[in-house]
Structure formats: C-alpha cells, structure tokens
C-alpha cells in the first residue's frame, strides 16, 4: 500500500463522487473523466500497463467524450438538474448503496484469504497478452468484434433522425 495508491484511489473516488453529485451535467461528465483517468493510472500502478492505457483511450477518449456530446445534443449543458429530488426515493437509494458497501466491506475484512501476504507481481508482457488473445481467447475476441460492429450499426440506426415523410 504505497502513497501513490492512496493518492490515485482518492482522485478516483473524489472524481466519482463529484460525477454523481455536481449540479451541472457537463461538470459531471468532466469529473467522470477524472475518475476514469484516475482508475487508468491505478491500473498502471498495479502493473497492468496495457489495461491502464486502454482504459485511458477508451473511457477518457471515447466514452467521456460521447457522454459530453449527448449532453450537448440533449441541451443539458446549461440546465441544472437537481441533485436529489424531494421525494423519499433518493434517500432510499443512498441507503441501499451504503448498505451494499457495508456488506462488501464486512466481507472484505472477514475473509482470511485476502489478508495473506502479497505475492510477487506477475509478469505479463504485452506479447503474452496478445498471444493468449490470439490463441486461447480467439473466439471471445471474434464475438466481441461482432458485437462492437452490431453496436456501431445499432447505435447509428437508433440515433438517426427519422425522416418526416418516408420515401
């Protein structure tokens, strides 16, 4: 548990909290990008170089930008959406989340296996990662490729402006 880990974890969690609590939607999206970037550097800190960089590329570079785009396209950039509506539902939501966190934390602190001394860091070069992707996991890889293509086409069709008069 190094100081770097604590700082990165704090950045990630503060970013996540800000993304869920700020009033301006664009501010939320920017805070989300901070949280994603913090998580990416956390992966780097844990020795997963490829994953950390992929996280930055996909989440900060694509998903955060996509969210920002949709916020602007739905004209949410200026309007403030209230953080918590005055009904009883939000309190229930926070309570549920707290309860789940409490259960998870209890489980973490009461599991013996987790608290065994740390092992040396595993060596996983990018070459190994690529080889196992191309050999053992080639079918899931193909399925992911197919799914991404389907999602690409589906997203375009769903978001396409419907024509007023069909030809």
């Amino acid at each position: 548990m190094s100081a770097t880990f604590f700082i990165l974890a704090a950045v990630t969690l503060i970013g996540a909290c800000a993304a869920m609590m700020l009033r301006g939607l664009v501010h939320c999206a920017l805070a989300l990008a901070v949280a994603f970037a913090g998580l990416g550097t956390l992966y780097l800190n844990l020795g997963a170089q490829f994953l950390g960089l992929a996280q930055l590329l996909v989440y900060v570079g694509a998903i955060a930008v996509l969210i920002v785009f949709v916020i602007l396209l739905t004209r949410g950039g200026d309007s403030d959406s209230p953080a918590l509506s005055p009904t009883a539902l939000p309190i229930a939501g926070v309570l549920v989340a707290t309860a789940i966190f409490a259960i998870l934390a209890w489980a973490i602190f009461h599991t013996v296996a987790i608290h065994s001394p740390g092992l040396p860091a595993p060596q996983a070069t990018i070459r190994q990662l690529g080889t196992s992707l191309m050999e053992g996991y080639v079918l899931p890889l193909e399925v992911i490729g197919l799914m991404l293509t389907a999602a690409l086409i589906g997203a375009v069709i769903v978001a396409m402006k419907e024509k007023q008069d069909p030809r």
Binding site: T12, A35, G76, L104, H115, A155
Partner: protein
C-alpha cells in the same frame, strides 16, 4: 490491511458511489454514468485479483477486463443512442418526467 484488501475496498466504494448515483439522479445520462462507474469498479476487482491472486501466471484477469472494456464501450454507445432517440420524442432526459408520459 494488505494491498489486495485496499484495492477491493476502493472498488466497493466506487461501486457504492455508482449505485447511489444511478438510483438517485433523475437525469438519464447520469444514470448511465452511474452504471459505467459500477462496471469500472468490477474491472478494478479483476485487475486486483490478477495482480495479487494466486494464479498470477495466466493473464486471464487482464483479458477479462479487456473484454469488459469492449462491452462497456458498446453499451455506452447504444445507451447514449437510445437516450438521444428518447429525447427526440419526448424533449426531455428527466426520468421522473419520462415516466409520467403516455408515449
């Protein structure tokens, strides 16, 4: 506290924050953001177990996260496209207003 427990604690906090946001925020986009945060919390768990777990030789944890990132990208794209389509019909992204409408 070991490093693995620290990672798991951070990840469960991230999950709780995402869950709280997804349950309380009224904007559809922010609900999606909450779901993304929960997915990321799960990814952090995978990385932590890959790093500190007993079978570290295999890169399985990394590959699982890689696939998960791919799925999350597809999910975000389709989800946001749906939000756009709904917005075009109802002119709002507010969940509490969306439920009240007949369409």
């Amino acid at each position: 506290m070991t490093a693995l427990a620290g990672c798991l604690l951070v990840s469960s906090m991230l999950f709780a924050v995402g869950l709280a946001g997804a349950l309380t925020r009224r904007n559809t986009i922010l609900v999606l953001v909450g779901i993304e945060l929960m997915l990321n919390a799960a990814n952090l768990n995978f990385v932590a177990f890959w790093r500190f777990g007993p079978h570290a030789g295999a890169a399985t944890g990394m590959i699982f996260v890689l696939f998960s990132i791919g799925v999350a990208a597809a999910e975000a794209a389709v989800g946001l496209a749906l939000i756009l389509a709904v917005y075009r019909h109802t002119k709002t992204t507010d969940l509490s207003q969306l439920t009240g409408r007949p369409q």
